[in-house]
Amino acid sequence: MTGNSILDSALILGGVGLFFGFLIAMANKKFWVWEDPRIDEVEELLPSTNCGACGMPGCRAFAEAVVSGEQAPSGCTVMGSDDIDNVAAYLGVDAGEATKRVARLLCAGGKNEAVRHSDYSGFETCKAAAAVAGGGKACTWGCLGLADCEVVCLLDAIYMNEDDLPVVIPELCTACNDCVVACPKDLFVLMPVEQKLIVQCKNLLNGDAAEDLCSVACNACNKCVADSEPGVIEIIDNLAVINYEKNALTDPKAISRCPTHAIVWIEGQQFEESSQELEKKAV
C-alpha cells in the first residue's frame, strides 16, 4: 500500500458503492408494489395545498380516495369547477355536487364600532389577550382583532381590514376549519355560500345594554323576526338566530329595519360595505 492510496481508496469506495447500488436495485425489483398510476396523475391536477378541508390528511390521500371512488372530485373545496371537471373527465367519473362553504365571522364590532374599556399590551395574539380579563373589549363575545385567524390561514384567505376585523375572501377560503379552531372567542362558523342572511353578532345582552357595548350589536328588537317568513328568525337568549333549514325562505327584506345593522345580506365577502364607508370617511 505505498503511493497508491488514492487509487486504492477510489477502488474500495467505488466497489462498496457498486455493491450497495446493486442491493438497492435488487430490493427495488423484489419489493416493488403496483400502484395505480392514475393516483399520481390526479395528484398533479390537485392544488397541493394539503389544507385538509376535504377531510383527508392531504392531497395525496384525497387523490387515492378519488381514484378508489371513495370521494367525488368535488370533495376538494379548493379547486375551481373547471379543475374539478378536469379530474372527473380524466377518471371518467361524475364530478359530484358539493356546496361551496366559507368561514363567516359572527362579529362586526371592529375598533370603530365596539367600545374598549381598557388597552391590552403584551403578547400580541388573540389567545393571550383573551386570557387577561377577556382582552379589554367591553363586549366579551367580540373579535379581539389581533389576527390569530389571519396567521393560521394557510391560503391567505383572511386579511385584517382597517377596522381590525378579519375579512374572509370567499374565493380563496376552502372551509378547512383552521380559523374556527384558532379563534378564542369562537366567532367563526363554516356555512354554505347560499346562506346569505347572517347575524354578525354574538352579544347576549338586549336593548341599550347591548348597544352601549357596540354600535352594531344585535339588541334583540325583534324587527327582523317580524320582517321575515314565520320561523325563519327567532330571538334566542337576546340574539336573533336564523333557522337555516328554512334558508329558501330568507329574504333581504329581513335586514331592512335592523337599527344596528347586526343582520346583513351577504352576496360576496363580509364587511365590504363597511370598508368602503371607511375609505369614504378617510377621503
Partner: protein, 441 residues
C-alpha cells in the same frame, strides 16, 4: 432568614407590603348597588332563590349550591332584588348575577337566627353547616370548603395546615386577619379539626410577619395542639403544595390532592370566617380586602361586602392617581388583570392592586435565549422554557402530554425571572383555555 423551613426554587420579588401592613382594617360603607355573580367559586354556578322585586335582608341566602361542588351565595346588604342578568365578571366573561338595590341607610342587622353550638354539632355535620354559609377557600382559588373538609374515606388526614404565608407581594389582608382576629382563627381551627376528626394543626407564617407570629403564639389556647411556624420569605410559599413541602417535607403527587399524603391546607381568612358562622351566625358575606398600590390615593385594609363594584371601592379610597395604569384583583404575581370598573368584588378577591405606570413598566418581549433561569425558578420543577416554545408553536397537546402543563399552577415565577420579558404564565393560561376548547366538541 437562614434555617427557616421552605421549599426548593421559587423567587423573592420586592414585598411592597409596608404600604398597608400597618393600617388596621375598617368597615366599608354599603354601596348603592351590589352585584352578586352566581359563580364566585370553583364548580357549578349556584341556583338563584330570589326573583326580581324580592326583599332581602343582609345575610339571607339568595342562591343555593347546585350540586356538591358548588357554593351558596348570600345577600351582603339589605335591599330589593333589581334583576338577575348578565354582568361583567372579574375573569372577563359575562355571567348571570343578582343585582340588589341597597336600602339607603341600611344597617349591619341580620335576621335573628338559631346559631348551632359547634360543640354539639356532629363531626360529619359541621361541613354541612359550613356549606350552608357559602364558605369557600379565601386564599384565591375559592374552592368550596365543605368539599375540602370531607376528604375521601381512604385518605385520612393527619395534619391541618393553616396558611398564613401571604407570599404575594403587596397583599396584607391575611396579615391583618391574624393581627386583628387571632381568636377567630383559632376557633376556626378547632372547628376544622373537629370536622376532620384530628387533633394537630400547624400555622405557617412567612418570617416577614413576625408580629403576626407573636400574636398567634400569644393567643394560642393551651388545650389545642397547634404550632406557629415561621417560614422563609419566598414566593410561592403560600401555594398549597409548597406549604406542605416546607412544613411536612412531603410532596403532593402530580395530579393528586393534598389529602393523598394526609394533609389539608386552609387559609387563615377561611378559618376566621368558619368561626364567624358559629360565633354570630353570619355567612360569608364580607372579608378583609387590601386596596393597595401606588395608583390609589388612600390605600388600606377594608372589610368590604362582596358584590361592591370596583368603581365604588376606587371612589371610596380617594380615587385613582394620575399615573394609575393597571388594576389587578389579587396580587401582582397571580392576580387577574381587570378591564372594567363595573366588575364586583368576589369571595376570592383578597386584594385590589392598582399599579402606577412606574410600577408596571412595559418592556419589549424578546426571543428566548435558553438561559434556563425559569427552570431554576419553577417551584414544581417543570421546564417553562420548553412549555413556552410549545405554546408559541401552538402544540398544545404536547404541552399537556410531554411537558406536564397540568402541574403548572400559573404562579408566574418563570415570567418574573425571564430576562427576555416573555409572559410565560400568560401563555400557559391561554394554552389551557385552548386545550379546554379542543376537548369540548
Amino acid at each position: 432568614m437562614k434555617g427557616l423551613l421552605s421549599f426548593k426554587h421559587g423567587v423573592h420579588p420586592p414585598e411592597n407590603k409596608d404600604i398597608t401592613a400597618g393600617i388596621a382594617s375598617r368597615r366599608f360603607p354599603f354601596p348603592d348597588e351590589i352585584i352578586l355573580p352566581l359563580s364566585q367559586h370553583i364548580g357549578t354556578p349556584a341556583k338563584a332563590l330570589v326573583q326580581p322585586g324580592d326583599r332581602v335582608e343582609r345575610g339571607d341566602a339568595i342562591a343555593e349550591a347546585a350540586g356538591y361542588i358548588s357554593s351558596a351565595v348570600h345577600a351582603t346588604a339589605s335591599g330589593t332584588v333589581k334583576s338577575i342578568e348578565l354582568w361583567p365578571h372579574p375573569n372577563g366573561d359575562m355571567v348571570p348575577s343578582i343585582r340588589i338595590d341597597v336600602d339607603p341607610n341600611s344597617t349591619q342587622m341580620q335576621r335573628p337566627r338559631i346559631i348551632p353550638r359547634w360543640q354539639d354539632v356532629k363531626d360529619e355535620d359541621l361541613s354541612k353547616e359550613i356549606a350552608k354559609a357559602g364558605i369557600v377557600g379565601l386564599g384565591g382559588a375559592a374552592f368550596p370548603s365543605h368539599v375540602k373538609l370531607t376528604p375521601p374515606k381512604d385518605q385520612p388526614i393527619e395534619l391541618l395546615l393553616i396558611n398564613g404565608c401571604e407570599c404575594e407581594p403587596y397583599l396584607t389582608s391575611d396579615h391583618r386577619t391574624m393581627l386583628e382576629y387571632p381568636e377567630r382563627v383559632y376557633l376556626g381551627i378547632r372547628i376544622a379539626l373537629k370536622a376532620l376528626g384530628i387533633s394537630r394543626a400547624v400555622i405557617g407564617i412567612e418570617a416577614n410577619k413576625m408580629d403576626a407570629v407573636e400574636v398567634m403564639r400569644k393567643a394560642a389556647p393551651d388545650d389545642l395542639d397547634v404550632t406557629v411556624l415561621p417560614l422563609q420569605v419566598k414566593y410561592p410559599q403560600g401555594a398549597e403544595k409548597m406549604l406542605i413541602k416546607a412544613v411536612m417535607g412531603r410532596e403532593v403527587p402530580s395530579g393528586a390532592l393534598p389529602s393523598a399524603i394526609g394533609a389539608m391546607v386552609q387559609n387563615v381568612a377561611t378559618a376566621a370566617n368558619v368561626a364567624t358562622v358559629f360565633e354570630t351566625g353570619q355567612p360569608l358575606i364580607e372579608r378583609i380586602i387590601t386596596v393597595t398600590g401606588r395608583g390609589i390615593r388612600k390605600p388600606g385594609n377594608w372589610l368590604i361586602p362582596f358584590g361592591t363594584k370596583l368603581r365604588d371601592v376606587v371612589k371610596h379610597c380617594g380615587g385613582l392617581t394620575e399615573d394609575a395604569a393597571e388594576i389587578i384583583f389579587g396580587g401582582p404575581m397571580m392576580g387577574l388583570g381587570q378591564a372594567n370598573l363595573d366588575v364586583p368584588i368576589l369571595k376570592a378577591t383578597g386584594g385590589i392592586l392598582i399599579l402606577s405606570r412606574d410600577e408596571c413598566k412595559r418592556q419589549d418581549i424578546l426571543p428566548c435565549i435558553r438561559c434556563g433561569k425559569c427552570l431554576d425558578a419553577c417551584p414544581v420543577f417543570l421546564n417553562p422554557q420548553l412549555l413556552g416554545i410549545l405554546a408559541k408553536a401552538e402544540r398544545y397537546e404536547e404541552m399537556a402530554s410531554e411537558a406536564h402543563l397540568s402541574d403548572c399552577m400559573l404562579c408566574g415565577c418563570c415570567s418574573y425571572v425571564c430576562p427576555s420579558n416573555i409572559p410565560l404564565s400568560q401563555l400557559f393560561a391561554a394554552s389551557r383555555a385552548q386545550l379546554r376548547k379542543l376537548a369540548t366538541p
